[in-house]
Amino acid sequence: MNLKMKALTKSPWVYHLSTGSCNNCDIEILDCLTPRFDLERFGIQLVGSPRHADALLVTGNMTLKSMPRALEVYNQMPKPGVVIAIGTCSLGHGIFDGSYICPKTVDEVLPVDIYIPGCPPKPEAIIAGVAKLLNKLAGK
């Protein structure tokens, strides 16, 4: 494992990007940070700018209006970085399938590394998903 990968798997900082979600996924992400689940004990922290982030948490359908912004955010993120799609919406279209305003799925726009299904996924599921990804990156 090279140095960059090692840095990535230790205390990853995440940036949360909503591309047209219904909020539930976003609330559950925030929930992971609050006292009951408290992700910060693993060094996982939400940051305010994609330039500081190691991982993008993408929630929601990709709407036409947010597509260029999402790409922009992805390009600002230093590489190597991972993209985590959270919620049924960002896996496919979920319940919004067939809408005139979301022609593409998230993984057609961004290179997604891991999918966490659920509508919304429970905080436990989000934590488990992120932990699995980190283990995989660390080659375990």
């Binding site: 990007l17 909503s18 539930n24 976003d26 992400i29 609050t34 922009e72």
Partner: protein, 395 residues
């Protein structure tokens, strides 16, 4: 283009991500442009391709925080079109779910408002107590959010009798927590200094912009669908509609805190009044016609209009969420405020936040555009709290 990403790390609670352009002179805001639509998912059109049963699931996903107010308005609209009433027990179960959600939503708002003025402890505490509500909802519906409880003509799940004592004791646990918040917010001199007289929406303006919910009730406009146009069985329980007159951020917070006590009252009464019985009428179809459904969401009146042509699918489905009118009123509430207060004012209508994440500040003197990111804005806000603390001699 990048300056328009309205997405935030700390308040990704957007129902409708918006983008605000603030025009300032020195430190004062002189004009505000609002842009919405990042979250437009074409739900009204999609609803025309879903069956009546599926529409309830679809509208549940309009907004995750009010994920039961939209279904509530939706079943009201369908039952209005079909001219039926759900069984009594189902109505009480609906009320319990609705009020639990109001508590969770207000706690969530309180936490984020606390975060905005630099009181992260308030954030952590209110989200900690929010978990109690989530647990109760999980017990009732099986999910922490998106409860999928409602359908036209009833509810999908009954509340088990053996769960009721546990629900009651959990709800009781909320009262000391609410007392804590009431004390912390109402008596804190710093919070007073930060929120009193800030972002005033006068009664006249509140009426002109037709705002709803706590935003209106803090400006002395006494409207509450639960009392004015009682749906479910709200006319059988006893509760107060909280109305305050200041119209500033402080009153908006106070209305929300006091409302949570009323919600606890309603939940307990509903548990008492609930009698055994059926919970679903098993409606097969909605006859041709129109229906209007209203419900009081945590943020205000939700309004649904449906048109049935007798088929399995709605011919037209129209949704009006409360933030739609409330956000627009920021246009007046923000004028004359300091930039450091702007985030708080925009947040005070509980607009499903992420809106405030990125603002463009146009300096009128130099006509240069200064871009302020959401984080910088929060930092400005935190600085101001520190200044006030110093001047009050608190550290």
């Amino acid at each position: 283009m990048s300056e328009i990403i309205p997405i935030g790390p700390y308040h990704p609670l957007q129902e409708e991500p918006e983008f605000f352009k603030l025009h300032v002179e020195g430190e004062r805001v002189t004009k505000l442009d609002i842009e919405i639509g990042y979250n437009h998912r074409g739900i009204e059109k999609l609803a025309e391709s879903k069956s009546w049963d599926q529409v309830v699931f679809l509208v549940e996903r309009i907004c995750g925080i009010c994920s039961t107010s939209h279904p509530a308005a939706s079943v009201n609209a369908m039952e209005d079109a079909a001219g039926i009433n759900a069984p009594e027990r189902a109505q009480f179960i609906r009320m319990i779910v609705c009020e639990l959600e109001r508590i969770h939503s207000h706690l969530l708002w309180l936490g984020l408002a606390g975060h905005f003025i630099g009181y992260n402890t308030v954030w952590m505490w209110s989200w900690k107590y929010r978990e109690i509500v989530c647990d109760v909802l999980e017990k009732i519906s099986g999910n922490r959010q998106s409860y999928a409880m409602f359908k036209a003509g009833g509810v999908r799940r009954d509340i088990l009798d053996e769960d009721i004592p546990w629900i009651r004791s959990s709800v009781d646990k909320l009262i000391p927590a609410l007392d804590l918040f009431k004390g912390a917010v109402m008596d804190d001199p710093v919070i007073h200094a930060r929120t009193k007289g800030i972002g005033i929406l006068t009664e006249e303006m509140a009426k002109a912009y037709c705002v709803v919910g706590p935003t209106a009730r803090a400006s002395n406009v006494a409207i509450d669908v639960r009392r004015d146009d009682p749906y479910f069985l709200y006319d059988q329980v006893d509760f107060d509609v909280i109305v305050l007159g200041g119209g500033d951020v402080f009153d908006k917070a106070a209305v929300r805190i006091l409302e949570m006590y009323e919600s606890v009252k309603i939940i307990k009464q509903s548990l008492d009044l609930m009698k055994p019985g059926i919970v679903d009428l098993h409606i097969k179809e909605i006859p041709p016609g129109e229906g209007i459904g209203r419900a009081e969401a945590p943020r205000g009146e939700v309004y649904h209009y449906c048109l049935s042509d007798g088929s399995n699918f709605p011919a037209r489905y129209k949704v009006r969420a409360p933030s739609y009118v409330n956000i627009f009123s920021n246009e007046v509430a923000c004028i004359g405020q300091q930039v450091a207060d702007a985030a708080l004012v925009l947040a005070a209508v509980d607009p499903c936040y992420c809106c405030t994440e990125r603002l463009i500040v146009v300096d009128n003197d130099t006509n240069k555009t200064r871009e302020i990111k959401g984080n910088a804005l929060i930092q400005l806000s935190h600085q101001r709290t520190e200044e006030i603390k110093k001047s009050l001699g608190i550290s």
